[in-house]
Amino acid sequence: MAELETRLHAKLNGVTEEIRLYTTVEEVGDSYITLNVNGTECYAKLGPSTDKYASVVNVRLPGASEALKVLKQITIPYTELEFTTPGTYKFKVPPGVTTLKVALCGGAGGASSSSGYGYYKAGDGGESSVGDLIKATGGTGGQSYDEDSGSSGGSCFIAGTKVLGIVNICGIRTVSWINIEAVQPNDYLIGANGQINQVLCPYAIPLGDDRAMLKTDEENPLVFAADHRMWIKQDGKEYWGVFDYNYMLNNHKTKLLNGLTPSQDAQRRMFEKYGIKPHISNGCTKELPFAVYGNYEFGTIDGWKKIKVKQAREYDGKTLVYSFVMGGNHTYFANGYLCSGFADDTDFDYSTVKITNAAETMGKIFRSSR
């Protein structure tokens, strides 16, 4: 199907009209005349004299009582086509169509959210086009960078949580329960087995939208992020336990391009940022922490403690949570619960942790000062 470039010209009273010729009868319908242009058979459509495309040329077909007009062109009904699924399509311009009306829009750029620290660049939208005739480019994707996003984990306790530390009062060193947000680099906290551990780097970040807060079911609860490692006894074994196990795995087992886990990379950035000598925790390489479930007890400064844990839904993603990268055996007590300060089993054997001993050596001494 096509329209010949050659056209039939009709002249009457000095006015010339062009009549379009088509190569197939399907284009011209039931009523037409046949012509031969330079050896090519072609057709012109016939119609009533009232047709808006009627030319001055009359044709009376054999047996017909009235003459018909040769039409200057066929009538193409108004047609709309829409393409909304991304991709590429072929469109053949119908016979007689010399003008297209086109509207088009490019694809949009995606959004980024640095909800796991680091650089995020969303994809750009694709270009929409009709041949080389018209086009609309896509929007670009958003990009964001957040060095200190909460998704690197590691900070886990709300302000006001008490940690057991060494304080200097009028030149006398003693132990006291200190608000977690008041602890400074190089301060000392009491950890597992009564060991005095140095605070290498304090750490505070927003909880973020992808971590949950939990709280112990008691009058003065410990409120902690669900991915923090707490010292647990479960099924007769004693080790680190984590409530949000998937989150912990992602931050402590996934490898970034620099070979560090997200947790390690977060520590590296903190140390570099504040000019503190780095100690990057290797995490628990010999034995993974427990996924906490069912029948478990917490290791506390008072001994083993069986207590329920509930969701703390009152804390949203902007809640600032605190913890430390600890030296020594990388532990400290938060509200009396033994917890990890980026526990590292490559320089400390956690099978030596004795909750009973800790209670005996530390609990009796400091319980009254809480």
């Binding site: 829009c105 980024s112 959210s113 909800s115 969303a122 200190d148 993603g317």
Partner: protein
């Protein structure tokens, strides 16, 4: 005072965060936003320019993190001359994919559209 000194050593939110919203496509595109839950409006599937959902930029939704919305696709409308019987390649642009740790934190851009009309009344 203690807290202020502590913050010197801590990575409190707001430190080292940056975002660059996406730019709108050409022509007529709308730029993205650094604000949470704000969308660069797209266009209606129409020969007259009007706001709609095609080519609508992605938005970020996570609270407390840096984020950036995508720019909308560009919008154009015109009449073009064509040769009957010729074949044209029509391309519909796809929306750009979101970049975030979870899909609930940011959305991808919407795809574009192509609309064509011909025949009676199209000059």
């Amino acid at each position: 005072m203690q807290l202020k000194q502590w913050e010197k050593y801590s990575g409190v939110v707001g430190d080292n965060m940056s975002s660059t919203p996406g730019k709108g496509g050409t022509p007529n595109g709308n730029n993205g936003s650094s604000s949470r839950n704000v969308v660069a409006s797209g266009f209606d599937k129409n020969f007259t320019k009007a706001s709609g959902t095609y080519g609508q930029g992605g938005k970020f939704t996570a609270y407390g993190y840096a984020g950036a919305g995508g720019g909308s696709g560009g919008y154009a409308s015109d009449t073009v001359s064509v040769t009957p019987g010729s074949e044209l390649t029509i391309t519909v642009g796809e929306g750009g994919t979101y970049a975030a740790r979870r899909s609930s934190y940011a959305t991808s851009g919407s795809s574009g559209f192509v609309k064509i009309a011909y025949g009676e009344g199209v000059q």
